[in-house]
Point group: D2
Chain length 407, copies 4
C-alpha cells in the first residue's frame, strides 16, 4: 500500500480517536478529514468539532452529521424484517451501525478527494472487519488505516504519553483506565472487556447504562400498541412516527421497564469467543412486536423459509458482509415476504420482558372459521385430514416395511 495522502477518520471526539488523528498526521504526514456521526449514542457532537479544530483540522474538513433516521430506516428496520438474532440471542446492535459509518466515510473521501479512511477499532475484534469490508465493497481502491494494528501505542501508559507529548487534552476521568469498553448507538449499548472478561462472573450493576434494573422497574405492567406497515414499525399507540423517533420512544419504554439486557458469550468472526453485556431496550420490544404481527400476517411457507435463512443473514451482518451480494439476495427474499406484514400488536411491558398479548390486522391470515372448536360451518372437512395423513405416511410405511424385511 502506498502512503495515504488524505484520510477520512471516524472521529468521536474522545481521547482515543484524538490520538489516532494526531498519529495519522505525524506518522503519515497526511491531511485528516474528520467524520463524527450522531447515530443515537447519546453524546453531544459539537465538542468534537471544537476538538478537531484544536487539533488543526480545517473547518471544511470537519463533517458532523445526524444520521439517525437513515440508520434506522435503511439498516435497523430492514434487519428487523428478518427477526435477525446472532447465535440465538444477540440483536446485532453494533454490527448494523458499522456499514453506515463506512458508507459515509467512503462518500466523504470521494467528496473531499481523500484516498484513505481510518477507524479506531482494534485488531482483535469484529468492528475492524465490518468497517473495512464495507469500505472495500463500496470503493475497491480506497486505503484503510487501522492504527491499532499498526502502531506501538499498545498500553494505556504509552497512549497517555503520546497524548501529552502532542498536546491532546485528556479529560480527568480518562486518566485512569475505564473498567470496561462501551459502544453505543440508537439500537443498543454494548459493554465488554476488563471487569467483564470472566464469563463465570455476574456483570456488576454499574455496567448497565441504558436500562433500569428490572427489580427497580415499575411494579405495574404497561401496555403499548405498535403498528406495522410492510414489516416496518410506523406508529406507537396510534401515533405515526418517523423510524428514529419510533426507536427512540421504544428505547424509553424499554429503559423504564428494564427490557433488553443480555449477558452473552459470542463467537467473533476472528475466531475467539468474547463476553459482552448488551442493552437493546427498544430492539427487544420491536423484535417481539414484529414476531407478533408476523404470526397473523405471514404464511407458514414464507415464515419457515425466513426462519431457515435467518441465521445465515444474521451471520453475514455480524461478520461485516452487509454490502455483499448474498446479503442483498437475502434481503430481497425477506422484503418480498413483508408485503402484507401490516397490522397492530399489543404488548405487555413488565420487569424486563416485552410480551405480545394481542394482534390484529386487515391482512390477517388467521381464520376463526377454520380453527374454531364450534361445529363446522363447512370451511374445513375433517375427513380431508385422513388422506393428508395417509399420503404423508406412505413413505414412512414403506420405510418400516423395508426395515422389517431386511432385518
Amino acid at each position: 500500500m502506498s502512503a495515504p495522502k488524505k484520510v477520512v477518520l471516524a472521529y468521536s471526539g474522545g481521547l482515543d480517536t484524538s490520538i489516532i488523528l494526531k498519529w495519522l498526521q505525524t506518522e503519515y504526514g497526511c491531511e485528516v478529514v474528520t467524520f463524527t456521526a450522531d447515530l443515537g449514542q447519546g453524546e453531544e457532537l459539537e465538542p468534537a468539532r471544537k476538538k478537531a479544530e484544536l487539533l488543526g483540522i480545517k473547518p471544511e474538513n470537519i463533517f458532523i452529521e445526524d444520521i439517525r433516521e437513515e440508520f434506522v430506516r435503511d439498516f435497523v428496520f430492514p434487519m428487523f424484517r428478518a427477526n435477525a438474532v446472532y447465535e440465538g440471542l444477540y440483536l446485532l446492535g453494533t454490527s448494523i451501525a458499522r456499514p453506515l459509518i463506512s458508507k459515509r466515510l467512503v462518500e466523504i473521501a470521494e467528496a473531499t478527494g481523500a484516498d484513505a479512511v481510518s477507524h479506531g477499532a482494534t485488531g482483535k475484534g469484529n468492528d475492524q472487519v465490518r468497517f473495512e469490508l464495507s469500505a472495500y465493497a463500496l470503493n475497491p481502491d480506497i486505503k484503510v488505516i487501522a492504527p491499532w494494528r499498526e502502531w506501538d501505542l499498545t498500553s494505556r501508559t504509552r497512549l497517555l504519553e503520546f497524548a501529552e507529548a502532542n498536546q491532546i487534552p485528556i479529560a480527568k476521568d480518562k486518566r485512569g483506565e475505564a473498567p470496561f469498553s462501551v459502544d453505543a448507538n440508537l439500537l443498543h449499548t454494548s459493554s465488554e472487556g476488563k471487569v467483564l472478561e470472566d464469563p463465570a462472573e455476574m456483570a456488576p450493576d454499574y455496567v448497565y447504562q441504558r436500562t433500569v434494573n428490572p427489580e427497580d422497574a415499575p411494579n405495574e405492567p404497561e401496555f403499548i400498541e405498535i403498528t406495522f406497515e410492510q414489516g416496518d414499525a410506523v406508529a406507537i399507540n396510534g401515533e405515526a412516527l418517523s423510524p428514529a423517533t419510533i426507536l427512540t420512544q421504544l428505547n424509553e419504554y424499554g429503559r423504564k421497564h428494564g427490557i433488553g439486557r443480555l449477558d452473552f458469550v459470542e463467537n467473533r468472526f476472528v475466531g475467539m469467543k468474547s463476553r459482552g453485556i448488551y442493552e437493546t431496550p427498544g430492539g427487544d420490544i420491536l423484535l417481539e412486536a414484529h414476531r407478533g404481527i408476523e404470526q397473523i400476517t405471514l404464511d407458514s411457507g414464507a415464515g419457515h423459509l425466513k426462519d431457515s435463512i435467518m441465521p445465515r443473514y444474521a451471520e453475514l451482518i455480524y461478520n461485516g458482509f452487509w454490502y455483499s451480494p448474498e446479503r442483498e439476495m437475502l434481503q430481497a427474499l425477506i422484503d418480498e415476504s413483508q408485503k402484507h406484514v401490516t397490522g397492530t400488536v399489543r404488548l405487555k411491558l413488565y420487569k424486563g420482558s416485552a410480551k405480545t398479548v394481542g394482534r390484529w390486522s386487515d391482512h390477517s391470515l388467521y381464520s376463526e372459521a377454520h380453527v374454531t372448536f364450534e361445529e363446522d360451518a363447512g370451511a374445513y372437512d375433517q375427513k380431508d385430514a385422513a388422506g393428508f395423513i395417509q399420503l404423508n405416511a406412505l413413505r414412512l410405511k414403506l420405510l418400516a416395511a423395508r426395515d422389517r424385511r431386511v432385518k
Copy 2:
C-alpha cells in the same frame, strides 16, 4: 381398511376418551385395550383404571404406566440439545409427547395382538398427524382409528347424549362446556380454543394453570445453577438428579417466578393458523441454560450449523415426523455437536424471566488470553487480522471494480 378387531386406545380416563372407548366397542364391535400414561400431566392415573373397568375393559387389557423418565430422557432432552423452537417461540411441548404415546400404543398392540390403535385428537389439529405418522412409522400394518374424523358426535349435546345413553359417568363440571381446551405433560401445558379464539384479545388470567402471574411472583430474584453433561442437564445446584426430576424441579422454579408463559399464533401442519397459550416453566429455564453452556463449550462452526438446521428440526417435530430418517439424521448431527457441552450455568429467575448470568466449564473454549484488552501475551497477533480482512475483502473489491466498469 378392513374392520379392526382389537384396538389399543390412548385413554385418559376423562369423558371424551371414555366416549371413544364406548364408541369403539359399539361402532366396531371390537375389543378395547386402554393405555393411560403418566407423562407428568399432573393427574391421578388410578381413576382411569376404575373407569376402564367400569366400561368393561378386562384387567389384562388395562395398561397404566409412568413414562416420565423415558419422556424426558429420550424425547425432551434430545430435543433441547437442538435448542428447538417452532416459529421462533414455541418449545414444542405437545408435539414431543405424541411420538412416545404412539410408540407405547404400537408396542402394546403388538404385545396384546391388537391390530389397531386409536386416539382422541380431532381432525383439525396437529396431534392426529403426530399420533398417526408415528404409529405408521413404527408399524406399517397398524390400523388407526380417529373417531373425531369418523363419527357424528360433533356437538357437545350429542356427546353428552351418547354418554348418557351408554351409562358413561359425567362429572358435574363436565356438563357445561369448558371455556378452552387443555393439553399437559411434564414439559408444558397448552390451552386453546373458545375464549382464546380471537388473537386480538388478551388471554384471561384464569387460563394460566401452571405458572403464577409474573406480577405475583417473588419480588426478589432467585439464582440457581444447572449442570450439563454432553448437552443434557444432570444437576441443579450441584445435586445430581434424574432427567424427569430435573424437569420437575425446574417446573417448580418456573411456576414460582412466572416463567414460561407464551401467547402465540402458530401455523398448523394442516394449513390453518391457531392461537394457543403455552406454559413451559421448566423448559424456558432449560433452554436458556442450555444456550448459556453452549456459549462457552460449542465452537462457532458447530453452533452456526446447529442454528441453521434447527428450524427444520423443529418443524419435523411439530409436524409429527419424529420417527423419520431426516429427524434421525439431524439428531445424529446435533448429538455429535454435544460431546463437550458440559459445564455449569448460573441463572437469575425473576418476574417471568430466566437469564444466564454466568457459566463455566472444564470444556470451555473461551480464552481470556486471546480476548483480553490487556497487552498481548502473544496468543494473538493483531497483524494477522490485516491479511484476514484483505482476503475476505478480495471478492468484494472485484465486485465493486466490476460494477464500476460496467456502469
Copy 3:
C-alpha cells in the same frame, strides 16, 4: 363441494380427455369449456377443436392457444436462473408446465363464468397436486374436478366401453394399451409406466422419442455459443432469438447429438417412488451453459447461497408450489443474483454430452492479474494469506487445545 355448473377442462383432444369431457357432461350435467394449449408438445391443435365441436362444445367455449413464449419466458427461464434440478438430476420438465396450464384454466374460468376446472391427471401422481395447488392459489373459490379420482372407469376396458357408448371416436392405435405413458412440452418429454416399471431393467430404445441414441449421433463434435443477459439466454451463435425460439433450436441441437437422456427413479410428492425416462435435449445444454456463464460472472457468496437454496426451490416446483410465497421469495433472491449474469459460453456437443469449453463476459469477475502464476504485479500480496489462515485456524486450535486438555 356443491355441484359445478360450468367447468374448464384441460383438453388435449386425445381419447382420455375426450372421455373426461363426456363424463363431465353426463356425470355433472355441466357445461364444458375446453382449453387446448400449444406448450411445444409437438402436436397439431386444430384437430382438438374439431373433436371438441363434435362432442358438443360451443365454439365460444373452445380455447386453443399457443403459449410457448410465455411458457419459456415466465416459467422455464426463471427456473433455469436457479440451475434447478430435482434430486440431483431431474430438470423439472413436466413440473414447470403445470402452473401455466392452471393459470390459463383459472383465467378462462373467470372469463367464461365457469365455477370449476378439470384435468386428466391420475390420483397417484404429482400432476394432480400441481394443477390443483396452482388453481386454488389463483382462485380460492374455484372447484377442481379430478375424474380419475372419482369415476369407476378404472380399467382400459371400461374406458373403451364408455367411449363407445358415448360415440367418442377411438383412433385405431388407441385400442390397444400404450406400452408406456408420455408427457411432452417444449422443455422435455417424459415417459413412464408399464414397460418402464422395473427400475432394474434398461429402458427399451423405442421409449426415446426426442433424441437420437448417442451411438447414432454425429461422429464429430459441434460447437455452439449461447449468449446470456441477466441470467437468460438471448442468442445462439450471435443471433438474437426469442425465448421459445432459443429453446426450440437448442432442442434441435440436443436431439441431433443425443443430449439430455435421463433414466431416473424419483420420489413423488404423494409418497412413492417412480421411474421415468426423461429427454430434455435443449434443457441440458441450457443448464450447462448457464452454469458456465455464472462461473465467471457470479460472485462466490452469491453462488454458494444460490446453491444452498436450490434444492428447496426445485422441490417447491416439483411439489406444485409455484404460486406460493416461498417460491416467490426464492425467486426474488435468485433474480437479484442474476443482474450481471451476462456474457457468452462456448459449448462442445458430442455423443450425449454438452460441455462448456470457454466463456467470456464484460461482466466477468475473473481476474487474471490475481490468479496468474506469473510474478505478481502487485494485485495480491501472498503474505495476506498467512493472516487469513491464522484467523481461520484460531477456533480449530482452541478446539484442539480443549480436546487435549480434557482427555
Copy 4:
C-alpha cells in the same frame, strides 16, 4: 513464531520440493524429515528416497508410504456418500487429499519430535489453507512453514539459480517452464495456470493426461455393475474389491471411455476465481452410480435433507475444514442416511458419459404395487390424494382470499 528446529516436509522428490528442502536447511538451519506418500498420483516413490538421501536427509528421517487405501476408505468414500460437488460440478479431487497428507505430517512430527511441518503450496491457492487448517486442527502447537509465502525465489530463474547453487539436480525437462501446473492423486488430476489462464480459450488437448479424448474412445458402449454396501462401493461386476482397487479400476474404465473431464472456473477460498481442467474418470462413474443406488434405497425425506446440506459440506471440504466440528457433524448426518444404501447399479459407459441404466436392491423402497398403472391392488387409495391436496392447498387459499380482500 519462534524458529523451528525440526520440520517434516511434504516431499514429492521433484525439483520444487527439493528446493524447499534445501531452503529449510539453509534458511532455518533446521533438521528436515521428508514425507512422501503414494496417493495414487502415478509416480514412483523410491527416487524420492534417493534424492532425499542425496540432499542429506538421514534414513530414519525419510518416510515413504503407500496410503491409497486409507485415502479412499477414510476420505474419498465418506465424501462420496454425500454426492459432494463444489459449485455444481467439481468433485473435490485435490481438496480431499490435503487433510490426509497433513494428518501424516503431524503424526510424523509427533513421532520424530519435530516442531514444524512444511508444504510446497503457494500463497495464492487453496492448498495452503487446507494443509494448514488441517495441521492446526490436529496439533494446535505445530508450526507451519510455507516457503512460497516467505522466500524471495519468486521467479523460475531464481529458483533454478538456487537449485544450481545448492547442487540440486535438475531434470532436463524441468529447465524450461511447464506450460501448466498439475496435481494428481487416485481420485483426479487437475491442471491449471499458464496456457489455461484465459477461461475463454478452449484447453489444448495435451493438457488431458488421464483420459482419452471422447472422440477417441471406443465406438461401442460398455456396461458395468457396481455394488454398494451402506453407501460405499464394494464390488465391480460382482467381484469384491478393496476401496483403492475399486477406484483404480473405475479410473481405468473412465480413462478408456473419456469420462470425467471438466473445464471449470471456480471460486477459491482466498477470494479469486481460477480456471482448472479436472479429470476424475473413476469419480464421475462412482458419483453417478451412488446416485443411482440412492434413487431406490434412500427415502425422500433423507435424500432432500442430504441434498440441502451438500453444498455446505462440499464448501467445507473445499475450504480446508475437513477436521472441523461442523464437517464431522454433517458426516454424522450423512452416514446415518447410508445404512440401507446397499444394492447394485448398472451403468452404460460411452464417449465421455457414465449413465445409470438399471438398479436393484434388497433394501429398495421402490414399490411397484404402489406406482403401477395397472388396476389397483389396494396398496394405494387414490381418494386419499384429494384430502392431501386440500390440506396442502388450505394456506394457499387463505392467502388468495387475503390478497383479494385487501386489494
